[in-house]
């Protein structure tokens, strides 16, 4: 009959049935019966720099393969040699995602793709897809400057780094973030693909298809050249890649006029942290220890300093700088140094008195914080005493706090840090604070496992989101101690003479920031400090800190608003005055930035009480100078670009054997030809076949 009686599903038992009464469902119901889409996935995309392409690529119409679950190393043999139905799509347990296994897969032609199930808990032996020597060649150490320190000859900073994120794979690799989806795939595999007692599994088999076709190839030079040709000559330009770029956030303790240059005699102390991270997969970058803990400490120190009553009278200014894109060969700091050299920034390199950078500070071993300095610049007689003053100020500030500051050996080089870019331009006295003496304490540097658990943030069970926001973790207390030390040291370095024991960072504020930047951005405090019409900024999923190619990612905006809230003052302006400060002329207004924030919600009503915040927080472009200068093959500046793509998705379904498909086609053609012949024959003889003698009556064709 013409009704579709049967609504049975594509053989994936144990799956939830589609409700039959879904009559007005959007979408193709036939498609839903065949394919199961995998929604909670993250792809591996292609990134390019001046000389190489890294990441993964799939075919134009996706790569399909028979699923095989690899839970132990022996399972790989089926995929590489034994299995009779290549190509295979491997579902890999997170523990087995190592360099050796990946190089084996890379060399095989029987693999059409890989899906990695995130390992919970994180692998005990550590995992870092970054390089052993991060940002090598773009720091300060080279053959001309401290050659014995170049290329990590002295200290290998990231010994656990396997460099997987910097390899080039010709098949797609996806991350399965949801354990339920992984279970669905494994169930499909167990129902159809398991070899029964050593015999070969029969069709239909469970297969997975991954779509992640990347448009850019070879390197940045090639893809930028193609993109610029497109934009110049095509009516409908199809660009193939975009430069990684965003904005740096900076703010000064004493307000300065951002549109003009400061007095050449004025001195500024720069405090710096990075705010971005990376991992093997696109837009998966929790970066707890590598970025978040550092910039949260920095924000807390800025807040503590602004509370000091006599800061506006300090002889030297302090600039709090948050660099974006440091993971990709120092995009933010190289751009700022370039702007300072080209006189496009209010502060020049000569104004810089000293530099203090907070590297990874969350995993302090027995409360020791290490002070790293640059041995090459310290050989200079004018730099050495200034560095010693810096270190002394830090050590003095740590008295009474639960932080022990120790200098690393004087001949040890600087770890990868934004300070190295400033040293490339000019010898400046500076220190980098870190929780590691030689190699990183972070065993998940730039990986998907660098989460809140990695910095030992523990919350008791059964708390509501509001209570979790305000709960002060031990991590927060420890970071607050570091912030206190930094704030006190900065006060002294800026020429402050008062008692520093009153300068304290607020652990509750640190805990709120850690919660907001590591667990959930959509909390009540963040909601109260952002502008009114920014709905997409706060989300409920885990925050990620990848620089991306779109301008102003969430992290940059949130750091900007938090810094404004912590270091700014509330002023009594109306919304009109706040949004248009130039309408009421006042020389003071040029030094400040005014933001109209939506305020917190009244407990009784549902409306918010907005107010105007006056702060000195500015944004400055963080795009590599290589793209400004169109030197796409530059070895001096970062040249990282991200490929463009059209469609990234994943799905699983059952596939039939090729033989059955060919048989179907052949039978169909045979039936067609047969029926054509039969009908023609019957039609030609119809007058004979259908006539009874003497009866010329009813004739039906």
């Amino acid at each position: 009959s013409s009704f579709a009686h049967q609504h049975f599903l594509v053989g994936v038992e144990g799956r939830v049935d589609l409700p039959l009464s879904c009559s007005f469902c959007w979408g193709n119901s036939v498609e839903r019966k065949i394919y199961i889409p995998l929604n909670k996935t993250a792809p591996c995309v292609r990134l390019l720099n001046a000389t190489h392409q890294i990441g993964c690529q799939s075919s134009m119409n996706g790569d399909t393969g028979v699923i095989h679950v690899v839970e132990k190393a022996q399972d790989l043999k089926w995929v590489l040699t034994d299995g009779p139905h290549p190509p295979y799509m491997v579902l890999l347990e997170g523990e087995l995602f190592t360099r050796e296994l990946m190089l084996q897969l890379k060399g095989s032609s029987r693999i059409s793709g890989l899906a990695v199930a995130i390992s919970k808990p994180s692998p005990a032996q550590g995992f870092s897809p970054g390089l052993k020597c991060p940002n090598d060649g773009f720091g300060v150490y080279s053959n001309d400057y401290g050659p014995q320190y170049a290329h990590c000859n002295w200290t290998v900073w990231n010994p656990l780094g396997n460099g997987l994120a910097y390899e080039d794979f010709s098949f797609p690799i996806f991350l399965l973030e949801d354990a339920n989806e992984t279970q669905v795939i494994k169930q499909c595999y167990q129902d159809h693909n398991l070899p029964q007692n050593g015999s070969v599994p029969e069709y239909p088999l469970c297969a997975m298809q991954l779509f992640a076709h990347m448009h850019a190839v070879t390197n940045t030079v090639t893809c930028m050249r193609r993109s610029s040709l497109q934009t110049a000559f095509s009516l409908n330009p199809e660009e193939v890649c975009d430069a990684l770029s965003d904005y740096n956030v900076w703010s000064t303790l004493k307000p300065i006029n951002a549109s003009s240059k400061i007095n050449p005699v004025d001195e500024v102390i720069i405090v710096a942290t990075r705010i971005d991270s990376h991992s093997f997969f696109w837009n998966v970058a929790p970066g707890a220890e590598s970025a978040v803990a550092s910039f949260v400490t920095h924000l807390a120190a800025a807040e503590a300093l602004h509370k000091v009553p006599d800061v506006q009278m300090l002889p030297r200014n302090i600039m709090f700088t948050f660099f974006q894109g440091e993971t990709f060969d120092y995009i933010g700091s190289s751009r700022m140094v370039y702007d300072m050299k080209m006189d496009k920034f209010p502060i020049r390199l000569d104004n810089i008195h000293s530099f203090l950078e907070l590297s990874q500070v969350a995993l302090r071993n027995s409360s020791v914080l290490w002070v790293h300095t640059d041995p090459v610049s310290r050989r200079n007689e004018s730099i050495q005493p200034q560095v010693e003053t810096l270190v002394e100020a830090l050590i003095n500030s740590s008295v009474g706090a639960n932080v022990t500051l120790q200098e690393v050996g004087q001949s040890q080089p600087l770890p990868p840090s934004s300070f190295q870019r400033f040293l490339r331009a000019k010898s400046i006295p500076g220190v980098v604070l870190a929780d590691h003496r030689t190699s990183f304490q972070n065993r998940y540097y730039q990986s998907m496992y660098d989460t809140a658990e990695n910095i030992l943030m523990k919350y008791p069970e059964g708390l509501s989101p509001e209570e979790t926001l305000d709960y002060v973790t031990d991590t927060a207390k420890s970071l607050a101690e570091v912030a206190t030390v930094v704030a006190r040291a900065l006060y002294q370095l800026a020429g402050g003479t008062g008692n520093t024991s009153a300068i304290q960072a607020d652990p509750r504020m640190v805990s709120r920031m850690l919660y907001g930047f590591l667990i959930k951005t959509n909390n009540s405090w963040f909601q109260s400090i952002i502008k009114q019409d920014l709905k997409g900024l706060l989300g409920d999923e885990l925050p990620q800190h990848y620089i991306a190619v779109t301008s102003l990612v969430n992290t940059t905006q949130l750091v900007q608003y938090v810094l404004a809230n912590l270091t700014g003052t509330v002023v009594n302006f109306t919304k009109e005055e706040c949004l248009n400060p130039e309408k009421t002329p006042n020389p003071e207004k040029e030094m400040y930035v005014y933001t109209w924030v939506q305020g917190s919600r009244d407990p009784n009503s549902t409306s918010r009480v907005p107010f105007c915040v006056q702060s000195t927080v500015h944004l400055t472009k963080a795009a590599s100078p290589a793209f400004e200068l169109k030197q796409w093959g530059s070895t001096e500046y970062s040249t990282w670009t991200e490929s463009r793509w059209k469609d990234i998705r994943a799905r699983i379904f059952l596939i039939a054997s090729k033989e059955l498909e060919i048989i179907t086609l052949v039978v169909g053609i045979a039936i067609l030809i047969l029926s054509l012949l039969a009908t023609y024959f019957i039609n030609a003889k119809a007058h004979v076949l259908f006539s009874s003698p003497g009866d010329g009556g009813t004739v039906a064709y």
Partner: protein, 217 residues
């Protein structure tokens, strides 16, 4: 490679129809008109019966699988009866339009589902079944033999009911093909065929037959 399966199943399901259309309908413009009208009548009958089923399901409104199946059975029976009513209505219309000529051709589509080959073969059986039913039905209405349309309705119900036995395809496909063969034979004889004519045709003695049967007018 699912394109190959699509083409294969389409040819299996609609090969005979395509052959019929190409050889018989396309030559005669009037028969094309009858084809389209017949198809339209059948589609309208399907639409009305689906509407009735849909309303019944909404009123009944339960998520129970067996209740839904009962609704479906009711829907199928009602649809078969409605299709036959429309077939009768079409017959009446054709009679009114042109007493001398009756051409029936119908098309039918079955939504594609997973067990493509089996469903394609079911379609292969259903399409000629409708052709044969039409032949028998119209001839019986012409000759006022009212037991024949009743048999047609019963066999239609039987074939539709057999599809409820899916996925046991041997239970549904084999009897459907047997019924198709029987109906085909009945339609052949109704249309004026006979064993003698078939023998003549197959042994290529038709020329002699024609010469012998010529009536001087």
């Amino acid at each position: 490679m699912t394109t190959a399966v699509f083409i294969g199943c389409s040819f299996i399901a609609f090969g005979p129809v395509l052959a019929l259309c190409v050889c018989t309908i396309a030559a005669e413009p009037l028969s094309l008109v009858f084809l389209i009208t017949g198809g339209f009548f059948w589609l309208v009958s399907l639409l009305l019966s689906s509407l009735v089923w849909f309303i019944a399901v909404q009123i009944g409104g339960s998520n129970n699988a067996s209740v839904k199946k009962n609704f479906l059975i009711f829907g199928v029976v009602f649809s078969v009866l409605l299709q036959e009513v429309f077939r009768f209505a079409y017959y009446k219309l054709l009679k009114k339009a042109n007493k001398g000529l009756m051409t029936v051709s119908q098309e039918e589509t079955i939504p594609i589902s997973v067990r493509q080959l089996s469903y394609a073969f079911m379609t292969l059986a259903i399409v000629p079944l409708h052709v044969f039913w039409g032949i028998v039905f119209f001839d019986a209405c012409e000759k006022k033999k009212w037991w024949a349309p009743a048999l047609v309705i019963l066999s239609h119900l039987l074939v539709s009911g057999l599809t409820f036995l899916n996925p046991q395809y041997d239970g549904s496909l084999v009897p459907s093909y047997i019924i198709m063969m029987l109906m085909g034979t009945w339609a052949f004889f109704t249309a004026g065929g006979s064993l003698r004519n078939l023998k003549l045709c197959l042994m290529c003695r038709d020329k002699d037959f024609l010469l012998a049967n010529q009536h001087p007018r």
